[in-house]
Symmetry: C2
Subunit: 353 residues, 2 copies
């Protein structure tokens, strides 16, 4: 036996599209085309970086307070972490300690299967239907926990409170995590249900609607018991608290509701225009409640379009995965980026006609 | 079965000493008493925070390059992550996939047992001797991997290259991680051995010698194969790269060797004075190669001293753990903080005499 035999066996990494140039249109990571709140930027510039010599405030109290205030909750209902992935990994460890599998859709955020493997959590994926719709009835089965992204990714489809309520009603004995990474772009939040269901946990991120993907900042909301379990898990893992500068920037972002709403409005307006343009070209796509669209074309292969767009320095996302390999996930960029995308698509369709 | 039955079972958290006041002397977290490099501070102030809308540079290339240059390595020998804990957790997952237990000292960084539990890695701790010394011969046994902190914490004892070499020579078939979190304060780095041993991995942090505990920044060094395995593990886990601002600050810190050395010199000088003062009061403590000392007194209980110091607004670290529960881990602060600590200790000894 050599030490090499004990190295992890993983698939060779297929590199994400990060071209080695700066002059291209990046619509493949669901980033926000607009900068963070000017108040967040000012908080970073004004941060007294001498303080970095000390570890951060342990539980990000000012940030938790700001989030609780905005969401109409108590601080005991909020946990702030180093990005949604950090928060979700703590949640998985805190909540999913059953022998029964946790359940989630087959088409959803890829985090779930990865972390179930890491933490040895049994899981079962449940197929969405041919329209990528999730049927709550499928989640009325014995399980060790439920994870639903709403709106879902990469499908872009958001559902209403009745949908979440249906899942919660048939899962009184499981923790149900609702990942609301994209909810601000027109989705319906489950926050009002927190009063009724103490097994509901909602996660959010600063990476999308708050334009702070370059930091690591996310949070969870839930009843006091579930949130306490996240804190206990974090503490038991020796985890570091949220980066001090990110804490300061996060508070400023949360407190700037006006800029937040204005940015969302711009993205949503451009999404409407993009959706209409794509449909006029024959693309099929559901109405999006996110900052991206999920589109396929009956006549052209998604992979071919994806490859063509790269030759025009436009990067969108194509997943080489069963069921969705003829779809493109396209981030809603600026109006200018959208114009260039649309004209590149018109170009290729002319070419291929 | 209720969802509560599947919550993680963990010991109630014993809160760390984070008094709710600002006017106290904090010598309990091995933080650096001096601020980060002025260049790092300038990099943060000058960071174009509009860029935060995008995800960070995937593999922190400029930071990796700066570290490689400073350490006399190639970029392929360096992995940068969100703090040493992030780097170590990736290493554990990447390297420790054997059925045999990984081995490490019973008295060392508490991270090891926590993450072995999380990742289901079997482990065995090996007692250090009564002087807290690690005997390399104890590590010549079948194992799935070895983790050594050098200098070790909380003992403060650093060992030379012969010690690391002895462990490596009897562990040709295991990955050996040497955690050098404290090495800059007078320890001996194993970097020169990287040329000879491709199963050696060295980890470092920005939190101690580089005064950046408020961020999350650490790195690993090793042969191309082991470093590639860390990258592959990170990529397979969907992990976010290092925070963009932290990347910029990290590069600036690494490039400011002069400030770095000057800060180390100050800490080491104060450590010498603190050590002498403590010994003159009858404390027993090994020579420290870290930014803290590990001291016990033959006549007074560590816990009593710890409690007394709190009444004087001085916070040191006392571990309620077997073998070390009569020791105090005291961070080397500024000269002024050290004076106040010493006079408080003199006060209590007068009181108790």
């Amino acid at each position: 036996m050599s030490w090499r035999d004990n190295l992890i066996k993983i698939e060779p990494y297929v590199a994400g599209e990060q071209p080695n140039k700066t002059d291209f249109i990046k619509l493949n990571a669901n980033e926000n085309p607009y900068p963070p709140s000017p108040r967040a930027i000012a908080a970073i510039r004004g941060y007294n970086a001498e303080n970095l010599k000390k570890y951060p405030s342990a539980n990000a109290v000012p940030l938790v307070n700001a989030i609780a205030k905005r969401e109409g909750l108590q601080p005991e209902n909020v946990f702030a972490g180093n990005g949604t992935d950090d928060v979700l990994s703590l949640c998985f460890r805190a909540f999913f300690n059953s022998d029964k599998p946790i359940i989630f859709p087959d088409i959803t955020y890829s985090f779930n299967t990865v972390w179930c493997d890491i933490l040895n959590i049994p899981y079962k994926t449940i197929p969405v239907d041919k329209n990528f719709s999730i049927d709550p009835a499928d989640y009325a089965r014995p399980n060790g926990g439920v994870v639903i992204a709403n709106p879902n990714a990469p499908t872009s489809i958001g559902r209403g409170l009745d949908f979440i309520r249906a899942i919660l009603d048939s899962n009184r004995d499981s923790v149900v995590i609702v990942d609301e990474a994209y909810v601000d772009f027109g989705g319906v939040t489950a926050v009002p249900l927190l009063k009724e269901y103490d097994n509901l946990v909602i996660t959010r991120t600063f990476s999308k609607s708050r334009s702070m993907a370059g930091m690591r900042l996310g949070w969870a909301m839930g009843g006091k018991e579930v949130i306490s379990a996240i804190y206990a898990t974090k503490d038991s893992m020796n985890s570091y608290p949220v980066d001090s500068i990110a804490q300061a920037a996060g508070v400023a972002s949360i407190e700037d509701e006006e800029y937040f709403q204005a940015t969302l409005k711009r993205v949503i307006a451009t999404r409407g225009r993009l959706t209409a343009e794509l449909r006029s070209m024959g693309f099929l796509l559901p109405d999006s409640q996110t900052n991206f669209v999920f589109a396929s074309h009956p006549r052209y292969s998604a992979k071919d379009i994806f490859e063509f767009l790269k030759t025009r320095d436009i990067y969108v996302r194509w997943f080489n995965k069963p069921r969705i390999d003829n779809y493109l996930r396209i981030t809603v960029g600026t109006d200018g980026e959208t114009d260039m995308l649309v004209s590149a698509l018109k170009e290729v369709m002319n070419l291929w006609n």
